[in-house]
């Protein structure tokens, strides 16, 4: 783990009509960290996430990624630069198989997506090997030939994580990876997120509601409330922060955490 800053957002502001969804928020995601973004409903987490991943552009502020200003960089270019992202509702290709979902990303990364002929020989073998590897990583090898639409919610999410890894990112942005999951599925995803860092050495920045998960998984937490930065620090610091308790957590949750 190094102290280098991988992603830095400075004074990000985004308004919708008269509503300041995100108001001058700054964060720095350090390389090798598992960094969480939390806050009550409507705090602006997803809006902020969209601004840093290029889903929308901020009205004001600056985003740098790997030292380059990407504030106005198109989302697909950010992916090429090394960002990966998942969405609150798994964003997949429902009518394709798990294998093909992941293969599309691997092909995109191998610059084969624009071709009129399927690659053969070594290039094809390299793609196959990478698809196998990613399927193994998220433990979906047995379901590779199933249509994604037929999978359970948790498996769809795993498929989406594998897709976001298929483009070889250094930073993975996960938008509420546990939303709508049962306990067992949550455990699976928690394991995968840990592996992202431990086994693949990636940096993870994620939005999450499940406080137990956040406190056990994150090494650094940023708290938003009503569009503003409320607090920042280690899980212990956040758990002990009175303002955070008042705004969001409640004593009971913290006691359990």
């Amino acid at each position: 783990m190094s102290d280098a800053i991988l992603l830095e957002a400075t004074d990000i502001t985004k308004t919708f009509g008269g509503v300041r969804a995100v108001d001058s928020v700054s964060i720095a995601v350090r390389e090798g960290m598992i960094h969480a973004l939390i806050g009550p409903n409507g705090a602006g987490k997803t809006t902020f996430f969209n601004a840093i991943s290029g889903f929308t552009f901020p009205d004001a502020g600056r985003v740098t990624f790997r030292g380059t200003d990407v504030t106005r960089t198109l989302n697909w270019r950010r992916i090429v630069m090394g960002m990966g992202r998942t969405f609150q509702t798994p964003s997949v290709f429902p009518e394709l198989t798990v294998d093909e979902n992941i293969r599309l990303g691997v092909r995109a990364h191998a610059k084969q997506a624009f071709r009129l002929r399927s690659p053969s020989g070594e290039a094809a073998a390299a793609v196959d090997a990478r698809v196998d590897e990613l399927l193994g990583f998220v433990n979906l090898t047995a379901q590779r030939e199933r249509l994604v639409a037929e999978l359970a919610h948790g498996s769809q999410r795993l498929c989406e994580i594998a897709m976001s890894l298929s483009t070889e990112p250094v930073l993975v942005l996960l938008d509420e990876p546990m939303a709508g999951l049962a306990e067992a599925e949550t455990e699976r995803i928690v394991g995968v997120i840990r592996d992202l860092r431990e086994r693949l050495g990636l940096t993870v920045f994620f939005v999450e509601h499940n406080m137990r998960v956040v406190l056990s998984l994150a090494e650094h937490i940023t708290v938003l409330d009503r569009g503003k930065l409320l607090a920042e620090g280690s899980p212990q610091e956040i758990a002990a922060n009175d303002e955070v308790r008042r705004a969001y957590l409640g004593h009971e949750v913290l006691a359990r955490g």
């Binding site: 992916i79 990966g84 964003s91 997949v92 394709l96 198989t97 997506a113 071709r115 009129l116 249509l147």
Partner: protein, 339 residues
């Protein structure tokens, strides 16, 4: 469809169409109508690529079709070019049209893409309609069918020869279309239909894919339009009109969106149906309209799409659906997905 079965279907269709001149007297359909089926199929495929495969409401493809017709008509009338050159000029006119419109169309998705397509198409319609000195305006322009090629001057080609020319172009277009939709490029188009945001988040510039798809679509529609003009030796503004775009969409839905054979079946039923019913009653459009409504309500996947589902349901269920099968470009889709 497995590769082998697909090859069989293709061979059967090729043989059937190759025997068109022999079959036409028996089914009381003029050979020129069969030529029209072959030529129209290209225009339906052009809509299919954008709408059926990529999920973009291509409601203005008559623009490229009409540019093809007028490209051929004007080059034959004023430059006295041969037949092959006229087709190439028509195709080129359509592609240039798409090159100009593309950057504007790419800025919108969904229904706004469809509305923009219609609006741009109408611009060409009004140009053809108003520019009477050159295009003949509302009356259209009649022109002779030119000799076949540069080396074969003044060899006029008759209906039979034109049919086989259309047949060869049809075969090439079908093979090319098959290659395109099965290629990594074509699969990415299908992925765009299902979830464009995700394709972008795989690091792909979807605008680039859509632009190329638009150019291919315009090329096919342009060839179709040029050949249609040369078939009937006539160009008229209604070929550019949005009704014409609607007809192509109707044929595609009738046959089945997102299936290659759907476009053939759609064109076949529409063109021959129109020919037969219009001899019985001038209100033939009512029947086609009813057929369309029945199709959308009863079998929204179109004839080929619905048949495909039936065949699959009837076949023994295989545990191991291959990736290609599930990613089958011919798999039926509902129009509007991803829009």
């Amino acid at each position: 469809m497995s590769g082998r079965r697909e090859l069989l279907v293709f061979a059967a269709a090729a043989i059937l169409f190759a025997c068109g001149p022999l079959i036409s007297p028996f089914i009381h359909v003029d050979l020129s109508i069969l030529s029209e089926v072959l030529v129209t199929t290209l225009a339906v495929l052009s809509v299919n690529l954008l709408l059926g495969y990529t999920g973009l409401p291509a409601f203005g493809n008559a623009a490229y079709f009409g540019l093809g017709t007028y490209g051929a008509a004007l080059s034959v009338t004023y430059l006295h070019v041969d037949l092959i050159t006229a087709i190439l000029v028509g195709a080129l006119a359509a592609v240039i049209g798409a090159l100009i419109l593309g950057p504007f169309l790419l800025r919108r998705r969904g229904i706004y893409f469809g509305l923009l397509s219609i609006a741009f198409g109408q611009v060409f319609y009004f140009i053809a309609y108003r520019y009477t000195d050159v295009t003949g305006g509302e009356d259209g322009m009649q022109f002779p069918r030119p000799p076949f090629g540069p080396g074969i001057a003044h060899v006029a080609i008759n209906g039979l020869q034109f049919y086989y020319l259309a047949f060869v172009v049809f075969l090439i277009a079908m093979i090319a279309f098959h290659v395109i939709v099965r290629s990594p490029f074509g699969r990415t188009l299908i992925a765009i239909r299902q979830n464009e945001a995700r394709v972008r988040y795989l690091g792909l510039d979807t605008d680039r894919f859509i632009f190329v798809a638009l150019l291919i679509s315009a090329l096919m529609a342009g060839i179709s339009g040029a050949m249609f003009g040369l078939l009937i030796n006539f160009a008229y503004p209604l070929e550019l009109d949005w009704h014409q775009s609607g007809n192509f969409v109707l044929m595609m839905i009738l046959g089945g969106a997102g299936t290659i054979w759907g476009s053939v079946v759609g064109a076949l039923i529409y063109v021959i149906g129109k020919d037969i019913i219009s001899t019985i009653t001038p209100l033939w459009q009512i029947f086609l309209g009813a057929l369309f409504v029945a199709c959308v309500l009863g079998f929204p996947r179109g004839i080929v799409g619905s048949l495909g589902s039936l065949v699959r349901r009837g076949a023994p269920v295989s545990e191991d659906v291959s990736a290609n099968e599930a990613f089958d470009a011919n798999a039926p889709v509902e129009v509007g997905r991803g829009v």
